[in-house]
């Protein structure tokens, strides 16, 4: 069927190389303004201001971590109060084991809050950006390895509704791209 063969070698994206961060930044603004949605820039380090240039807002990973940290906080309090006060009051040197034992329980509570927050950062981040993903069409690109070295790449995927096979290529050249590569799936 021509469909499956077409898919096998179909175009995934255009990968365009830019000379430096400034050119990439201005080009990104133009791509954003042109209405593209399925695109990204690939850089060896996070470029300052690129989020705004791409029309992206702030990252809400912070909300995930807030939930994680609160869970840790409540879990630690529950663990300590339940085991030391409710289940079997552990009286050590006549020190109180009741609702007022909060100061003694503070260090463990603090540490578990941070521990749970740390785990939620790690797993929240990886899940959000959908990694690990060891296979991706971009790894077929010959320009791509530059993005982890000293290159500044822009990738516009073919599944974007505004993508047009050659017009997008011309558009990229117009906004300052140097070499443009066609990457297939």
């Amino acid at each position: 069927m021509s469909d499956s063969t077409a898919k096998a070698t179909s175009l995934f994206a255009y990968v365009a190389e830019f000379d430096n961060a400034t050119d990439l930044y201005h080009a990104a603004e133009k791509v954003r303004d042109a209405g593209f949605r399925r695109w990204d820039v690939h850089t060896p380090y996070p470029v300052h201001g690129m989020d705004a240039a791409m029309g992206l807002g702030k990252s809400w990973l912070s909300a995930v971590v807030l939930v994680g940290g609160t869970t840790g906080f409540l879990f630690a309090l529950f663990l300590q109060f339940f085991t030391q006060v409710s289940l079997y009051p552990t009286v050590v040197q006549n020190k109180p084991t009741n609702l007022f034992t909060v100061p003694a329980f503070f260090p463990v509570t603090f540490e578990l809050t941070i521990l749970f927050s740390g785990f939620s950062i790690l797993f929240g981040l990886l899940i959000w950006i959908m990694l690990p993903r060891w296979n991706h069409p971009l790894f077929n690109s010959s320009l791509f390895p530059k993005s982890t070295d000293d290159g500044f790449l822009m990738v516009i995927e073919s599944r974007d509704p505004k993508f047009k096979k050659d017009k997008t290529r011309d558009f990229l050249t117009e906004i300052g791209a140097g070499e443009i590569e066609e990457v297939s799936h």
Binding site: A21, T83, G118, T148, D149, V155
Partner: protein
């Protein structure tokens, strides 16, 4: 007056990648082996002493009544303290936007992880019956009894475990983009597979970078109170007791400042040879060394203030036992030599860093940082066995000497530390590649001068 550049000689991003990844990709210099082999030998001494300890019993150590805590706890606090500099560089210097941290943060975080591993050996093995060390975990033990969460020793377990876990997470997340760089450069199959596996398929897209940056910021924000709390909790092991000389509220800030102090000294001890051996002088510049020397001076002075304040309060305060404890510590007890050693190494020696010449002469910096390493070990020695040897009742007074097992074990932990650090240098990027690129002047898209910089580079370096 223009700011000194963080990367000298106008190096390009490609140069940075080549230089740092080159350390991993090329053969190690001969001196790597010269240091690695003895480190492995010392590490095997550690393994031997641990087996000997568990099989024979804790009696092979020199601690006994009244000095029930000897070198084991001293070394534990010593190693944990060293670890704190890594987290400070990663977290606190990040929050204070100190861009110079990017050249030293990776290696100092690795140093933190290895130091915490060396430290963790002691609480694990000092329990005697090592197979029961799981009793420390928050699960009912073999007698169905829960742990005493009100005990500072248990707070320690939580603090150090959390510290280690968060440091690993922070270090690993920072490594992901650099592992991707190594993956993309790898020519042979095994390195490509391993770097690729641990890089998790990182592609460097800005849609990922924005979440990554938020995660990094959150980790830095979490690690800051964490590093302050961990050594405070370690100090609580002593401060919450009633032993004179220990029961004082100055301990948490004193310990934290001391930890940062000792840790930075160890960072310098490691980074000065590395920058020379691997040609990283353009990345770890005199400015970096200068800044770290200033931090050592600052924290050393704080530690000196703490020593003097302890002495003053013992004199001025109403606690007779505390007054006697300090009198014994500095004048009439058996360990006064240790006190003066500590005072000289920690307070007097780093004062040379007031002079710019001293901060910029790398030999002076290296020697003084080793004085500090030495002195910080002595500080913990003065706090722990010295105080226990002379507590409330003269009838209880004793003297403590470490046994050969304790000495060999301590030397062994140094072997483990250097062995693991050398392995880190061998396999992982010793400087945070992506972060250093991010602080270059041309990394900023709004930087007005990047064209001129590039022209200068094309004319000059070519």
């Amino acid at each position: 007056m223009a700011r000194e550049p963080l990367v000298l000689n106008n190096r390009s991003m490609g140069w940075i990648t080549d230089r740092i990844c080159g350390i991993v990709e090329n053969r190690q210099p001969f001196i790597w082996w010269v240091l690695f082999v003895p480190a492995v030998a010392l590490f095997s001494c550690l393994a031997f002493t641990l087996v000997y300890l568990v099989s024979t019993g804790v009696g092979v150590w020199g601690n006994n009544q009244p000095v029930a805590w000897g070198w084991a706890i001293v070394n534990f606090v010593f190693w944990i303290g060293i670890g704190h500099a890594g987290t400070l560089i990663s977290a606190i210097l990040f929050l204070t936007r100190q861009k110079w941290r990017t050249s030293v943060n990776r290696a100092s975080e690795a140093m933190t992880l290895i130091a915490v591993m060396c430290a963790g050996i002691y609480p694990g093995f000092h329990v005697g019956r090592f197979w029961m060390v799981w009793f420390l975990a928050p699960v009912p033990n073999a007698n169905a009894i829960w742990q005493n969460f009100k005990s500072p020793l248990l707070w320690d377990v939580f603090a150090v475990s959390t510290y280690f876990t968060i440091s690993v997470i922070f270090w690993y997340i920072g490594l992901i983009p650099d592992l991707a760089t190594l993956r993309d450069r790898a020519k042979k199959k095994l390195p490509k597979f391993l770097y690729g596996f641990f890089a998790l398929g990182w592609r460097g897209g800005n849609r990922h970078w924005r979440h990554y940056e938020m995660g990094y910021l959150l980790l830095a924000a979490l690690s800051t109170p964490l590093v302050l709390s961990v050594h405070s909790v370690v100090s609580f092991d002593f401060a919450t007791s009633v032993v004179p000389g220990w029961h004082t509220t100055i301990f948490p800030p004193y310990f934290v400042a001391g930890a940062i102090f000792g840790g930075f000294a160890m960072v310098l001890t490691l980074m000065l040879p590395i920058r020379k051996l691997y040609g990283l002088e353009d990345l770890i510049t005199h400015k970096h060394v200068d800044n770290m020397a200033k931090i050592i001076l600052l924290t050393g002075t704080i530690v000196g203030y703490a020593y003097i304040m302890e002495l003053f309060i013992s004199y001025y305060g109403a606690n007779k036992f505390e007054a006697d404890a300090f009198h014994l510590r500095i004048l009439s007890g058996p360990y006064t030599w240790a006190y003066y050693c500590m005072f000289f190494c920690n307070v007097i020696a780093p004062q040379v860093f007031w002079w710019k010449w001293c901060r910029h002469n790398l030999w002076v910096v290296f020697i003084i940082s080793n004085f500090v390493n030495f002195g910080m070990w002595f500080e913990r020695f003065v706090i722990i066995p010295t105080t226990l040897a002379r507590d409330f009742l003269p009838g209880q007074w004793g003297y403590y000497e470490p046994s050969w097992v304790e000495k060999l074990m301590f030397a062994g932990t140094f072997g483990m530390f250097f062995m693991l650090f050398l392995l880190f240098i061998r396999f992982l990027p010793v400087i945070a590649v992506s972060e250093v690129k991010g602080v270059l002047p041309e990394a900023d898209p709004h930087h007005p001068d990047w064209k001129r910089l590039r022209e200068k580079r094309r004319q000059g370096t070519a």
